[in-house]
């Protein structure tokens, strides 16, 4: 009997090593001529990888678009972009290891990527002391995460604080009767800081958040209790924040099943496609959120290019593609403007730039009043609407309306 097991385990080992080694051998690519190596921290496995992994596709699109143009020129020399990808493994330890590998192992000076606050914090503890520019996809506005103490961090997309502004703009313009809002948000430490910010911005629009922010634990399996509590508040509308399409889609699904027909809107990164998939067509109505689709009207040429390539290669375009795209593209734009590969010079140039090109079109650098640091990229923001299970385009919230210096 022992022999059977020996043979069995040897067979398993051979299978495992074949499985693992063959792709890595096959994936050896030739080095490009002169390259700027940019590290990208992607969540390919583990927690929330089914949502966050897509940003890597966006980053690859950025690399391809830049390289197809011939790369960028710095002091007369041509450079192509190369992405060095590391997996954050869906855990803070993995993010820490990924950041260490990129900063100390591969000695990169520019890194990009990532979402959840706790991964970003882990990565930042490595990049900041090393003076490596870290251009994140998103910022959840917690006081630790982004501020004057993080001089080498930049945020390449309109994030939490500014998303409130854009969504309230759309709300007040299209639903003038809504005055009170119940806010549901994931309770992962961001509630305290977000509470402050959202109420301040709501007040500027004449809106009130009714009661406290309803927080749900990240280990929640079923959101019925949360939704019940929200509906009971009896505000004019229900808003949900970050949390992922699974949570927010479930929230809408359960709310509609409970008979709530009022307005629900989202202020976050998920996008209507994933929310509709989770909530189901019949629940997806009377809803709007930030989101991107391939058939938006009035796109700038660069957005059209991104959309075309994404549809051809990945058969879909979501906001996450643009998150990843911007995190690479804006950084390369800054490097181009600084005409230097020294992170210190690039940082100084970048924070003094006023306009910058983004995947959505022209953008501006700002954020000093909100965050103490002029490191946020502002760009126009699309709003998507779900109506009777159909995804429709809501509006563009233009750059000038959104921009906070």
């Amino acid at each position: 009997m022992k022999k059977v097991y020996k043979i069995f385990c040897v067979a398993i080992l051979i299978c495992i090593f074949a499985f693992t080694l063959i792709p890595s051998i096959a994936a050896k690519s030739e080095a490009a001529p002169k390259t700027i190596n940019i590290g990208y921290m992607a969540t390919l496995t583990g927690f929330a990888s089914e949502v966050l992994g897509i940003s890597l596709q966006g980053a690859e699109l950025a690399r391809d678009i830049i390289n197809d143009r011939g790369g960028i020129t710095i002091n007369g020399e041509k450079y192509l972009i190369k992405l060095i990808v590391e997996d954050t493994k869906g855990s803070p330890d993995g993010s820490l290891a990924a950041a260490n590998k990129l900063v100390y192992g591969k000695k990169l000076k520019f890194v990009a990527g990532m979402f959840p606050t706790h991964f970003i914090k882990a990565a930042m503890s490595v990049t900041e002391p090393a003076g490596v520019i870290y251009n994140r996809c998103y910022s959840c506005a917690t006081k630790d995460e982004f501020g004057p103490h993080t001089p080498y961090s930049f945020v390449s997309n309109v994030s939490t604080g500014d998303l409130y502004k854009s969504i309230f703009m759309y709300l007040t313009k299209n639903y003038p009767d809504v005055k009170t809002i119940t806010y549901i948000l994931v309770d992962d430490g961001q509630i305290r800081d977000n509470d402050r910010i959202v109420r301040k911005i709501a007040k500027e629009f004449g809106l009130t958040i009714k009661g406290d922010i309803i927080g749900w634990s990240p280990a929640t399996v079923d959101w019925s209790a949360v939704v019940t509590r929200a509906i009971k508040r009896n505000a004019d509308a229900i808003m949900h924040g970050n949390g992922g399409a699974m949570a927010n889609g479930s929230i809408m699904k359960i709310a509609r099943e409970m008979g709530y027909t009022g307005l629900i809107f989202g202020c976050n990164a998920d996008g209507a496609t994933d929310i509709r998939m989770v909530a189901g067509k019949s629940a997806s109505t009377n809803y709007f959120t930030h989101g991107v689709s391939e058939s938006m009207p009035d796109m700038y040429p660069i957005t059209k290019e991104i959309s075309k390539r994404a549809m051809a290669r990945y058969k879909r375009l979501t906001g996450f593609h643009l998150y990843g795209f911007n995190s690479i593209y804006t950084m390369v734009e800054a490097i181009k403007a600084a005409q230097s590969l020294d992170p210190k010079k690039v940082k100084e140039t970048w924070e003094n730039m006023d306009t910058i090109e983004t995947g959505y079109g022209p953008g501006r650098m700002g954020g000093k009043t909100l965050y103490g640091l002029k490191h946020t990229v502002y760009h126009r923001q699309p709003i998507q609407v779900l109506d009777q299970g159909e995804i429709k385009f809501g509006a563009w919230i233009e750059l000038e309306e959104l921009y906070i210096p």
Binding site: T20, L44, K101, H118, S217
Partner: protein
């Protein structure tokens, strides 16, 4: 006696190798992996210490988190020196272990494992409640560092700290108290019949083991400067148990080898990206089917195979 000298020489060689390692490794990234391995060796060995009394704790990462957050909050909010908060982290974990040890250690084997599992999850939930200080699920950062920002001092510090802890633990296991505890694990009825106060000893070993877990946690906090929910969740506790079991629960050196192999090897294979968990599970399956005594039992096993083959031939 010859074998004792041989063992001592081989350990000394390994020690010299480890001291000289940073000279050969230019990459600070690998240093980072080694530093984390040292920290987790302390944690896993302390887990094994508790396991010698027959209590397998499935919530050990939860105890680590107590030490980590205590040290971090004291250093960040009150401004105390990390050199002070590191041992305080260990102390606070020990105190918590003494308090919960009283009800928990009454439970045997699997029930203890279950209650420790829930305690591990529970500590994280408590973290979320006090999220002003702990940062909740997404954690806290900007913890004051122990030795500045360069990696090299940390390497030697943790090498030394790990050695110190391991020496203490191995002496403890072989001293009279440690032997008493092993006796309790083997047969608690016989032990009680001889007049040994079973509950007291179990609480004692739990406290000491958790002290080292707290030290490991505080060390982690003051090195990585970031603490989040994901570092100390159920998966982390299970990982510690796996490191211990794969290394071999019967020998003291087991957790050390298990942690080292299971932390360093997957990092070497990092380029495989999504496929890395296969490496991990491959090692586990190998140990499962081929090495019943864990990785630490490998030399003995090889001797056994050689001798059986010799008999056949």
């Amino acid at each position: 006696m010859i074998s004792l000298r041989r063992t001592a020489i081989s350990y000394l060689l390994i020690l010299i190798f480890l001291c000289l390692l940073p000279v050969f490794i230019k990459s600070y990234y690998l240093l980072h992996v080694f530093i984390l391995t040292f920290i987790y060796i302390i944690a896993t060995s302390s887990l094994r210490l508790i396991a010698t009394s027959g209590q397998i704790s499935l919530g050990h990462a939860g105890f680590m988190s107590i030490g980590a957050y205590t040290a971090a909050i004291l250093a960040k909010e009150l401004g105390w020196s990390p050199w002070l908060t590191l041992p305080l982290g260990g102390l606070s974990t020990m105190i918590v272990a003494m308090i919960v040890g009283y009800p928990f250690s009454r439970l045997r084997l699997i029930y203890f494992s279950m209650v420790s599992l829930f305690f591990g999850i529970g500590i994280l939930a408590v973290n979320q409640v006090f999220d002003y200080y702990t940062g909740g699920f997404s954690g806290m950062m900007l913890i004051p560092p122990l030795l500045g920002s360069s990696k090299l001092p940390y390497y030697y510090f943790f090498l030394g700290l790990t050695l110190l802890c391991l020496i203490f633990m191995v002496r403890f296991e072989t001293c009279r108290i440690g032997l008493t505890i092993k006796a309790i694990a083997q047969s608690h009825t016989v032990a009680s019949s001889v007049g040994i106060n079973e509950a007291a000893y179990r609480i004692l070993i739990l406290s000491i083991g958790c002290f080292f877990a707290g030290i490991a946690g505080a060390g982690y906090a003051h090195y990585t400067l970031v603490l989040t929910h994901g570092t100390f969740n159920l998966l982390a506790s299970i990982n510690l148990v796996i490191y211990m079991l794969v290394g071999g629960i019967n020998r003291f050196i087991g957790p050390v080898i298990g942690t080292a192999v299971l932390m360093i090897l997957p990092e070497l294979f990092r380029d495989l990206k999504e496929y890395v968990p296969f490496v991990f599970s491959g090692i586990m399956l190998l140990v499962l089917f081929v090495m019943p005594d864990g990785l630490a039992g490998l030399p003995g096993q090889i001797k056994y195979w050689i001798s059986t083959h010799r008999k056949k031939g």
